[in-house]
């Protein structure tokens, strides 16, 4: 048992090895981030809906810039389990795309001092135009999304907009028009039912899909104050008038029998396929749905996204406001062997060339300004771009899901109950409020404010 004792002394919390020497190279115009000569680079990517084409594309650019470096690029689906021990032991890769269901808690990573400050990257000249910095290339909100406690800890690559999806051809065929308010929506639902089609389906196994239209309606009704109250865990935030009215609006879909039977038991792909095969008219989703469904979308389906309708004509936010946020988080670990190389890799990734390729291969919006200009966009992506255009500055987003995952789990459970008709809006709000209060009272959970 002597061996066991020896290993025990190298306990997980005893700290990793001394940090390895993090070399830096000379800063030149050609090498603005000071990447050391010939240093290898290890890139670990989340292999999900956007595929690996764009991250490999960036590898190619990086290899052109650093011909002596050996670059390893690996796509993973459970980033968390694989990388967590590497972070603790002080041997993380140089760049990580921390996304997907198995991602690491990024706030905890930041709190543990595991992330490199990305300020140098934002100030560095972009690959496209030395006169423009990388930071200037990004859409508004992206730097804010990646800032934790005043430090830019990560940068998201994809700009996601949430809305309600429909088939243009189906709507044209029946002469349906998109509803402007929720009352119009309920009236249209009756009409759709009359045509023998279920008005709505949703990804019941993952209730957060339906939480997006619900919280969009709430934000529209109550404005940004409502959103901030929720994110800041304010007392009775979930019992605000707008929140209850939004929950009631969604609950009316259930009460009115407007949801495809059995939806509460469908996975996201199953629900989306039911929608694509014409069994339901509307489905709530983020803008990634077109990429996810590209293999099974029927010819001439013409999918498009509409902004969630106004809750009432008296909403606080103007028509066309949408919930949007950046996602697909790229970070450079603080203990990486080649953090400067990691930053330079991101400089390649956030270039116009890679971003354009991303829009084409992943059918999603990159966060790089003007990347989709002049591209021949597919029907879904074009509708997303149009919705963003209409929304202008009125793009809102919630933070509680990232800040307090404990709360998000309870929100989803309650929303599942609401949609299954087992809870009414009051019970829904009470349940979530209780969970929010518990998080607010728990000292062991780090708090954020906006």
């Amino acid at each position: 048992m002597a061996g066991a004792a020896a290993v025990l002394s190298g306990c997980v919390t005893a700290g990793g090895d001394d940090p390895a020497e993090q070399a830096t190279g000379a800063v030149t115009d050609d090498n603005p981030l000071g990447v050391p000569e010939g240093a290898d680079l290890e890139v670990v990517m989340f292999d999900g809906g956007y595929g690996q084409e764009y991250t490999r594309h960036a590898v190619t650019l990086y290899e052109e810039r650093h011909p002596d470096a050996t670059v390893t690029h690996e796509g993973l689906q459970k980033v968390g389990e694989v990388l967590q021990p590497r972070f603790v032991s002080g041997e993380p890769p140089d760049v990580v795309d921390n996304s997907g269901a198995g991602r690491l808690d990024i706030a905890a990573l930041a709190a543990a001092g595991q992330l490199t400050d990305l300020a140098d990257l934002l100030d560095a000249p972009s690959l496209d135009d030395p006169a423009v910095t990388v930071g200037d290339l990004l859409l508004p909100g992206v730097v804010e999304d990646g800032t934790l406690d005043g430090t830019v800890s990560f940068l998201n690559y994809s700009y996601v907009v949430w809305g309600i999806w429909y088939s243009r051809s189906l709507f044209d065929q029946h002469g349906w028009t998109l509803p402007a308010t929720w009352d119009d929506m309920l009236a249209l639902c009756e009409e759709i039912k009359g045509a023998g089609i279920a008005p709505w389906t949703w990804q019941g196994k993952y209730p957060e899909y339906m939480m997006d239209p619900l919280q969009s309606l709430a934000a529209k009704a109550g404005g940004l104050d409502l959103v901030y109250a929720i994110d800041n865990l304010a007392p009775d935030a979930w019992r605000q008038e707008g929140v209850l009215a939004a929950a009631d609006a969604i609950h009316r879909l259930v009460a009115g029998g407007h949801i495809l039977e059995g939806s509460e038991g469908l996975s996201h792909t199953e629900a989306q396929n039911a929608w694509c095969s014409g069994q339901a008219a509307f489905i709530p989703c983020g803008s990634w749905i077109e990429g996810e469904q590209q293999g099974v979308t029927p010819e001439g389906f013409d999918m498009a996204m509409a902004a969630v309708p106004a809750l009432t004509a008296a909403d606080a936010l103007p028509d066309g406001a949408v919930q949007g946020a950046s996602s697909e988080s790229f970070l450079v670990p603080a203990q990486a062997l080649n953090p400067r190389g990691g930053l330079d890799y991101l400089r390649c990734l956030f270039s116009g060339e890679v971003a354009r390729g991303f829009a084409e291969s992943a059918k999603a919006m990159p966060v790089v300004k003007g990347a989709t200009d002049g591209l021949d966009l597919t029907s879904g992506l074009a509708s997303v771009a149009a919705a963003l255009e209409t929304a202008g500055d009125n793009v809102f987003g919630y933070k509680y899901r990232t800040w307090y995952p404990e709360l998000a789990v309870e929100v989803d459970t309650a929303t599942g109950e609401l949609l299954a008709g087992r809870a009414d809006p009051e019970q829904w709000a009470d349940r979530i409020q209780a969970a929010a209060d518990a998080v607010a009272a728990d000292d062991s959970i780090a708090k954020y404010e906006r």
Binding site: M1, A4, L8, V88, L104, A111, G265, L266
Partner: protein, 304 residues
Amino acid sequence: MRHGKYRFLIGALAPPLLLYGVFVVSPYAQAFYLALTDWDGLSAEAGLVGLQNFADLWSDPLFLAALRNNGLMLVVVPTATIALALFFAACLTLGGGMRRRGRGVHGSGLYRIVYFFPQLLSVAILGVLFQFVYTPGNGLLNGLLGAVGLDGLQRSWLADPATALPAVTAVMVWSAVGFYVVLFTAAMESVPTDVVEAATLDGAGRFTVFRRITLPLVWDSVQVAYVYLGILALDGFALVQIMSVGPGGPDNATEVIGLTLYRAAFTYGEFGYASAMGVTLFFITLTLTALAMRATKRERVELA
């Protein structure tokens, strides 16, 4: 002639115990220590918090729901599996009457081959497969019910709190029964046929033969089965994670300790707290095993 006993013992036991100590005991010992800390799973330091994590467990609704569900599974999975397996094994061996003299019903070999199939599927495959079996619209189960005119029984099996946990439990039982049928069948076949014949001549019915002669002789196998199935029932993590709504839903109906622990460790970064759950689970299992072994201990029937 028995000199060198200790030299042999040391030589024989050192490699396995070293292996076990390094790869099993030391990580678990660290987990015991971590259960007393607030380690987030990512930083190099952890603060000692004493028994706070254990105290918090009892006011955590998710953990309590998980405990309840695992408890239910612990009762249902071994009992149902062993009952079904004993029943089928008895059908296979005791059928056929005197003519076939304990060789069982016709085609019993074929049944045994087929029954074993589910054992060949890994948990990941099971989860994915049964997710489709239970799917509301075009799933196998609802399709089957519709085909035989039982439309009224069709439902969203995994989305209804009343049926979600039974649905998951049924998968565990479904996959385990065959293995134990094979196990018990062989145990029953080893019962000497002349004993059975003698009993039958004395006028004992099949059920009496089963209860008085067969069952006591397979009791050892039943005991092993109980422990093995109990451990299976306390897990359930992979199945729930793949199949259930949420996962763990609806309304925490399928929450299991493995899932709560996994979420705490990897989603919330509360590794110390997660370790406390594991340690608690360990002691619960330990107690239950000890109790089960005591309860099922019976004098073995010697036939020799």
